[in-house]
């Protein structure tokens, strides 16, 4: 029985050993998959296309028209900085004749000095200073030292009035002391104030012997004075103000070689003056600049411009200056505006009532408002991308096509080309054939420049095999878009509007025909 079983199993094993294993050794495998890969998708508005760093300048009018609003304010205290109250030091002495002073039952006013003190300002002639800082220091002494004289000096500054009590400075000094000026204002007469010093012998039960050449000395110092406002006539002076620049880089370099015409751009200058003094602003330079070139802005009123000034301290006066050649300037497509100016006060005047506070500024605000309404051609956008296809087998890509679907509500046509370059950015070839580059079709517009119908491009763009092969040996790919605004039915350029609701829906995909062979 076991013999039979053995033979049975042996027969089976012999049977199943009759297999040629070579038949199950697969030498190679090849597949030809076609991959449909999404590359880019999304919906872009004109706001998205403008450089993100400038997005804060993108605004929308109530009618949905997008505009660029640039505003730069030059804040200068150039006029206020014209004024400074210098330190003033006064040394005065009382001569006390040689004698014996009998006992005094009460204080005895001996001598006095009255004087009109000049702060020494020029050309301004101030009538009032309200101090925000500084001090008056005083020091009295007797010479020669050791004289046994009991005295006081009464220091009276009647023009220095306390802002809290309304009382003038009036102190009796014997030795050193100081008074903070931040609580005082001084009434001046063309920079001058009154001062009176009175020497007082103090009551004494004993007689006082005064030696020869005896003096009572008074040193009075006005130091570190700063003002919260000044009033008076400030003189005919010129303040040089710092220069400033307004960057208008929303389009980057895209408009460098473009022909641009904005339908309704606006540029104005607003001068806000806190200084209560007649002032004339002289724009030494006011120009739009681009790549070393410039264009002057023509102002109305013409330069130099007398600006308004406030009649009450704490108020401001505004002067608006417009640019008369704004369309010309914007067609130049500057990427920045530069201005530099002087401010001249009291031009030709010999008197007047001026004022300013220590916080008073001259603000020159430049507003550039560019509604995206107009026409343009030859707008260029360039971007460079690094390619790294070293891990891909070139032979595995048989062919490829770009799937492009763009539904464009923006009135902007674009021709796009992909340039393949070596590591030195030398162009090897372009990816698309010349007749394949018009990938973005602008919308059609009404006579008023509004959207009529979106432009639709929906095609599979076959890529030339020889050009495609060069992708694998390229180091960089430069994407260049050349754009024009939509034209009318006859092909003539028309002013078009870019509204915020207009979108460009982009779907870009790649259809790649691969051939993958594996030797096993």
């Amino acid at each position: 029985m076991m013999q039979r079983l053995f033979l049975w199993l042996l027969g089976l094993s012999v049977l199943f050993s009759c297999v040629n294993e070579d038949d199950y050794t697969i030498d190679a495998a090849e597949i030809n998959p076609t991959l449909a890969l999404p590359l880019v998708s999304g919906s872009l508005s004109v706001q998205d296309l403008i450089k993100s760093t400038d997005s804060v300048y993108v605004k929308v009018y109530p009618d949905d028209l997008v505009y660029l609003s640039y505003s730069q304010t030059l804040k200068t205290q150039g006029i206020r900085d014209l004024f400074d109250v210098p330190d003033k030091v006064l040394n005065r002495s009382f001569f006390v004749p040689q004698a014996t002073i009998p006992p005094l039952t009460k204080d005895l006013r001996s001598d006095s000095i009255s004087e009109l003190v000049d702060f020494g300002l020029s050309p301004e002639q101030l009538s009032e200073i309200s101090f925000s800082g500084g001090q008056v220091t005083y020091n009295t002494s007797v010479s020669p030292p050791g004289a046994n004289l009991k005295y006081e000096v009464n220091i009276s500054l009647p023009d220095f009035i306390s802002k809290t009590t309304g009382k003038p400075i009036n102190i009796n000094a014997n030795g050193a002391g100081s008074i903070l000026l931040s609580d005082y204002l001084v009434k001046l007469n063309k920079n001058k104030f009154n001062m009176k010093l009175v020497l007082v012998f103090k009551k004494n039960t004993a007689p006082t012997v005064i030696g020869p050449n005896t003096f009572v000395n008074v040193k009075l110092s006005f130091l570190g004075m700063d003002f919260s406002y000044i009033k008076g006539f400030f003189g005919d002076q010129v303040a040089s103000l710092p220069s400033d620049t307004v960057e208008v880089g929303a389009f980057g370099t895209a408009l460098d070689d473009a022909n641009v015409s904005f339908a309704d751009p606006k540029i104005n200058l607003v001068v806000i003056n806190d200084n209560g003094v007649p002032c004339e602003v002289d724009f030494k330079k006011l120009e739009g600049q681009k790549n070393g070139q410039s264009i002057n802005l023509v102002l109305n009123p013409a330069n130099p411009i007398s600006i308004a000034y406030p009649t009450t301290l704490g108020q401001s006066a505004t002067t608006t200056v417009s640019v008369t050649n704004v369309k010309q300037v914007m067609s130049f497509a500057p990427n920045k505006f530069y201005y530099q100016m002087d401010a001249r006060i009291n031009k030709g005047l010999a008197s007047g009532v001026n004022f300013l506070a220590d916080t008073s500024k001259l603000r020159v605000k430049m507003n550039v408002e560019v509604p995206l309404y107009g026409q343009a051609s030859d707008i260029n956008l360039l971007d460079t991308l690094k390619l790294d296809l070293t891990n891909l087998d070139q032979s595995s890509v048989n062919n490829a096509s770009l799937k492009v679907k763009v539904t464009n509500e923006l009135p902007l046509n674009a021709s796009i080309q992909f340039y393949l370059t070596d590591e030195k950015y030398q162009v090897i070839d372009s990816l698309l054939l010349p007749d394949q580059t018009n990938l973005i079709k602008g919308s059609t517009v009404t006579s008023s420049g509004d959207l009529q119908a979106p432009g639709v491009y929906d095609q599979l763009v076959p890529l030339d095999k020889s050009r495609l092969d060069k992708v694998f040996s390229s180091q960089y790919i430069i994407v260049r878009a050349r754009m024009n605004t939509s034209t009318d039915a006859s092909g003539a350029a028309v002013d078009v509007k870019f509204k915020s609701k207009y979108k460009m829906a982009i779907n870009l995909g790649l259809l790649a025909y691969l051939k993958i062979t594996a030797k096993l």
Binding site: P38, V40, G42, L49, L511
Partner: protein, 498 residues
């Protein structure tokens, strides 16, 4: 009547052409084998007494409803190259690949009286089924472009179960026409992998935007611990046997006409509850859904392309996070099988039988059809030739051979064995057979058998008369020119005809 038969025949053939089962059609009418009761518990084998030891029956089966090896390769200039494009073109929408194995550890069968046949078996079984959606293969080979504006369903499924079956069954002859049978099976699950849910899809829109979604719920028992270092199955065998289950087989045969017997059965109707060493892998489809439509144009315009791609990578990683961990007990059904057939006695010891069968498992209903010619050459040799439609495969010529050298019975049977000799003759190897086969199954072994039943019980049908109950003294006399036992069998038949 003839038209309705024709219609029925065409329908059955049509169903069978698309069939993809994992079953044994050729075995069905090999009445000399005690294993025939596997297909129908009402079948009564030829031998009254059977003892099967661990080698009594070994079964291996493989089916592939989608392709054969030849569909996968192309031979050119002495080289064998994978022809994946050709393979895809031939694939059906759903390809099921199954593998099954079984081995009797013990089999006992004995007829306790003329009406009752009892059987006991202990059998180890393993079944595995993988589902390959055509879309998955297409994606790998042809890419995703064919799915622009459509969705590829790439939900694979894997089922595997291994269990020990202890079965007690009986066939009972109700009357001269009807025999019924049943079997109760006590199941002990060893290991299981089941895909409770698999819903993975990749959709491509007209602009090539790709949406991937994945919902997965795979549960396992007795598998995860195998990956633990130091884990020894032998020490944990007790745990493996804690997965209990129950199943039943039901069957009947009915002699419709004198020579025509019908049969029907349901086999492996039951389930196993998996309780030990449970581990699951899941992904929530409501979370694991991601659409990539390309780099966002706004991000690109703002020069944030690289950051955007990195953010998308992180998002994908978070969304498609495969959760894994211990899970609760679960229950899986066995692959239930259904057989309906008929057997016609052409002449003595020569029958033609046909059986439609189907397997239902995890939502897959896979039918098939076998027709066989069965011949007993005396008691020593029983042979069967068959033709089977199964798994979209129509070149399955099967055979069965039993050498009844009582008490030893050696046998082999399979649904696609007949091509083996032709392959050997023509090519001196089995390659042609293997390369073209989508159905390969073979059962072979050695039984110990006694008591060849010369009545029709061994034809899987009730006896035509009650002669088998007669005492030996009343047995019909042997007719000259035939062996004693065969002549007796023949006479009984003749009597019944009268």
């Amino acid at each position: 009547m003839r038209r309705s038969r024709l219609t029925l025949t065409i329908f059955c053939l049509a169903v069978a052409f698309h069939a993809s089962g994992q079953m044994e059609g050729t075995l069905h009418y090999m009445s000399c084998l005690p294993q025939v009761v596997n297909n129908n518990p009402a079948f009564v084998p030829k031998y009254k007494y059977v003892v099967g030891l661990p080698i009594s029956s070994l079964y291996e089966g493989y089916t592939n409803s989608g392709f054969s090896y030849n569909d996968l390769v192309k031979r050119q200039d002495g080289q064998v190259n994978a022809d994946l494009t050709g393979w895809i073109s031939k694939l059906p929408e759903k390809t099921f690949i199954t593998a099954a194995a079984g081995a009797d550890l013990l089999r006992l069968g004995f007829r306790i009286n003329p009406k009752v046949y009892l059987g006991v078996n202990v059998t180890g079984k393993t079944f595995g089924q993988g589902f390959l959606p055509k879309d998955m293969a297409t994606l790998l080979v042809d890419g995703n472009a064919p799915y622009v504006n459509s969705t590829a369903n790439v939900s694979p499924m894997l089922e595997a179960l291994s269990y020990l079956e202890t079965a007690v069954g009986a066939a009972y002859e109700v009357d001269s026409k009807l025999t019924v049978g049943g079997r109760i099976k006590i199941l002990k699950g060893v290991a299981n992998i089941t895909t409770e849910a698999s819903d993975i899809s990749i959709a491509v829109d007209e602009n090539y935007g790709i949406t991937a979604s994945a919902g997965i719920d795979v549960r396992t028992s007795g598998v995860n611990s195998l990956t633990n270092s130091g884990y020894e199955v032998s020490k944990e065998i007790k745990n493996y046997m804690k997965n209990g289950g129950l199943a039943i087989d039901l069957g009947a045969t009915y002699r419709l006409l004198d020579k025509l017997t019908l049969n029907a059965s349901i086999v492996d109707l039951g389930s196993i509850k998996w309780k030990t060493n449970l581990y699951s892998y899941s992904m929530d489809r409501s979370v694991a859904t991601y659409t990539f439509s390309g780099i966002d144009a706004n991000q690109l315009v703002n020069g944030n392309g690289n950051e955007y791609i990195q953010a998308q990578k992180d998002s994908i990683k978070n969304k498609f996070d495969l959760k894994e961990g211990p899970t609760d007990a679960y229950r899986t059904m066995l692959p239930a099988k259904f057989y309906v057939g008929g057997n016609y006695e052409i002449i003595k010891n020569l029958n033609v039988g046909t059986v439609f069968f189907a397997q239902s498992f995890k939502g897959r209903f896979s039918p098939g059809w076998t027709t066989s010619l069965n011949k007993n050459f005396g008691r020593v040799v029983s042979a069967t030739l068959s033709y089977t439609l199964s798994n979209r495969s129509y070149n399955n010529f099967g055979a069965g051979l039993s050498l009844n050298l009582a008490p030893v019975q050696l046998y082999i049977v399979g649904d696609n064995l007949l091509k083996i000799p032709s392959s050997l003759i023509v090519n001196q190897n089995l390659n042609e057979y293997i390369n073209t086969a989508q159905v390969i199954n073979v059962r072979f072994g050695l039984n110990f058998v006694w008591g060849w039943d010369k009545s029709e019980k061994g034809t899987l049908a009730p006896s035509k008369t009650k002669s088998v109950n007669q005492s030996p003294a009343k047995k019909p006399k042997v007719k000259t020119g035939t062996s004693k036992k065969d002549a007796s069998y023949l006479k009984v038949r003749r009597k019944s005809k009268r």
